[in-house]
């Protein structure tokens, strides 16, 4: 199937994109009244790359994705996809780009197969091509057995995968995905990630938005940290972690009864910490492990160490938790 995806994946997107970035966004701005939902962002995505916009809800990720797919007008700035100016010719852009919107947008009046077939037809495929392609993508996404079912009979994970499958109907070389795995159980999420990895292997360029640190780490070649409509920093996940995250983070699972003792201990020694639910995180000072030995005897406290991650990067850059939103 990977082979087939590769072969059918050669669309005019590739033809029009004679070298250079597949997606180019410059100083893009979107206002809702006085509020700048997207506030002058600039980034570009290279051919075959998976690029992520990582940020909490309300950061402006969805608005950016909607502007890219022509579903939302921008106030200023420019967007170019596969050499096409989205602002001037958003019809042409939608011919070459696959879009997975935040909501699955499945048609409840149709079967699984009909959802794909009619989408392909609407997108410009002949009936025969659309039928064949629908069967191909159903096979690839392991949904062949469900092709005659109503979409509302599918599980959340299957719906999401069907929505992704639908964006593959025209074999686009570039796909924009708004939060591909939000709201899915871990198993379904893993499945989606596996499938996205195959698409990447087939040379498809992907721009995705996410507020899952794991998703960004696993899938993205490069990513931007986005908050309040702005891009705060950009790089590979490793670079970002190296620049902005502590090497090591101590995590204390603290029983409610022991919480006071732990707080006092850390405050006394001027160790900075943050609390997320029942978890107290302590970042190492200059890469050294903070001295938590005094807590080892306290009942109800379990200590473990983990490496710094994108969650910490976000915290360092914005001063807030990624999961606040």
């Amino acid at each position: 199937m990977t082979e087939e995806l590769k072969q059918t994946g050669a669309t005019n997107a590739a033809a029009r994109n004679s070298g250079g970035s597949v997606i180019r966004v410059k100083k893009l701005r979107k206002l809702y009244g006085d509020l700048a939902a997207v506030d002058g962002i600039t980034f570009s995505v290279e051919p075959g790359e998976t690029y992520g916009l990582l940020g909490p809800n309300g950061a402006g990720k969805t608005t950016t994705m909607r502007m890219l797919s022509g579903l939302s007008p921008s106030n200023s700035g420019s967007i170019e996809v596969a050499g096409i100016n989205v602002v001037k010719d958003n019809r042409a852009v939608r011919e070459v780009m696959g879009v997975v919107t935040q909501h699955d947008g499945l048609d409840g009046g149709l079967t699984v197969f009909q959802n794909l077939f009619l989408f392909g037809f609407l997108a410009g495929l002949s009936r025969k091509d659309s039928k064949n392609r629908a069967n191909e993508v159903l096979e690839f996404f392991g949904l062949r057995g469900r092709s005659k079912d109503n979409t509302y009979e599918l599980s959340g994970g299957m719906k999401r995968r069907l929505a992704i499958a639908r964006s593959m109907m025209t074999s686009p070389k570039v796909i924009v995905m708004d939060e591909p795995s939000t709201g899915l159980d871990p198993q379904s999420r893993n499945r989606v990630w596996e499938e996205l990895a195959v698409l990447k292997d087939a040379g498809v360029t992907v721009l995705l938005s996410t507020h899952y640190m794991e998703e960004a780490t696993i899938l993205c070649d490069r990513l931007s940290i986005m908050d309040n409509g702005k891009i705060l920093d950009e790089g590979t996940p490793d670079q970002m972690i190296e620049h902005h995250a502590p090497k090591e983070v101590a995590q204390l699972r603290v029983a409610p009864a022991a919480l006071r003792t732990v707080r006092d201990y850390l405050t006394e020694r001027e160790i900075t910490y943050r609390e997320v639910g029942a978890l107290v995180s302590v970042t190492g000072l200059n890469g050294d492990r903070p001295d938590l030995s005094g807590l080892s005897d306290v009942e109800g406290v379990r200590t473990s160490y983990r490496a710094g991650n994108l969650e910490d990067v976000f915290l360092t850059i914005t001063g807030r938790e990624l999961r606040d939103g």
Binding site: S69, G70, L71, S72, P73, S74, N75, S76, G77, V87, D89, N90, R91, A92, R94, E95, G98, V99, T101, H103, D104, G105, L106, D107, G108, G109, L110, T111, Q114, L118, F119, F121, L122, A123, G124, R166, S167
Partner: protein, 261 residues
């Protein structure tokens, strides 16, 4: 503002693609659809034609009440179909992001309204033709000119298809959509000359009745059904076209505001 200018041109695939989607869904649920398209209008036709017709007897010009009321009921029923398609059904398509999905293909808002209105026309034709055949079997349509009722059927599909979008595109919830029937469809159905000639209404009500687009559609339908066409039917047709020319751009504007934000 960027993108403020709607995409120019009309892409035929957008319209046929959307129409095909509706046709496929229609065929899937044909058993339910049949009750709407044929069974309900025939029930009303029989009740009014036989029941009320018995009381009323004969109208002016020697036309039986059943013959008089048949085109009115058939065209009035077509209005419900067209309105329902672009108000309730279109609202559901907005609400379930079906249009948003469609908009990820190279389709425009104008083309969405064209595809949906084309389907409203299709439904209107289906119900008019189906009910007319039954009425003809009862002997209530007895001029070959009645075939021409397909013309007001098409016009009803377009005009009321456009009108329905005015509701679906602004409705905050489905309860709002009941206004389509309480404010628009039902008053029109009863006061547009379907059941009785408008001339028997008080003088001051008559212009109001004529302003309602269904009145013109029923007038045209009756002209064909009773083979009594004259110049007034042409005026009625021009009036419907004028109303549509106003409604459709408003529908496109409102739907764009709803979907592209």
């Amino acid at each position: 503002m960027n993108l403020a200018i709607p995409t120019p041109g009309i892409r035929r695939r957008s319209v046929t693609g959307l129409w095909l989607r509706h046709a496929v869904s229609f065929v899937r649920y044909w058993k339910f659809v049949l009750t709407w398209v044929l069974i309900e209008p025939v029930i009303i036709l029989v009740a009014v034609g036989f029941g009320v017709g018995k009381l009323v007897g004969t109208m002016d010009d020697g036309v039986s009440y059943a013959q008089f009321v048949t085109p009115g009921l058939i065209i009035g029923n077509a209005m419900f179909h067209a309105l329902f398609e672009t108000s309730w059904n279109a609202y559901n398509r907005i609400d379930n992001d079906v249009y948003e999905t469609a908009l990820t293909t190279p389709i425009t808002i104008l083309e969405i309204t064209m595809g949906d209105i084309l389907w409203a026309v299709t439904r209107s034709i289906l119900t008019v033709v189906g009910t007319a055949i039954v009425a003809a079997l009862f002997g209530w349509l007895n001029h070959w000119e009645a075939i021409g009722m397909i013309i007001p059927a098409i016009m009803v599909g377009i005009t009321f298809g456009a009108l329905g979008f005015l509701f679906s595109a602004v409705a905050p919830h489905t309860t709002f959509l009941t206004l389509v029937f309480t404010l628009v469809a039902s008053p029109m159905f009863f006061f547009s000359g379907s059941f009785f000639p408008i001339s028997i209404l008080p003088d001051w009500v008559e212009p109001i009745a004529w302003a309602m687009p269904l009145t013109s559609a029923v007038h045209i339908g009756r002209g064909f059904a009773l083979a009594s066409l004259d110049i007034t039917h042409l005026w009625a047709a021009l009036y419907l076209i004028a109303v549509t020319a106003v409604l459709w751009p408003i529908a496109v504007f409102l739907l764009r505001r709803k979907l592209i934000s």
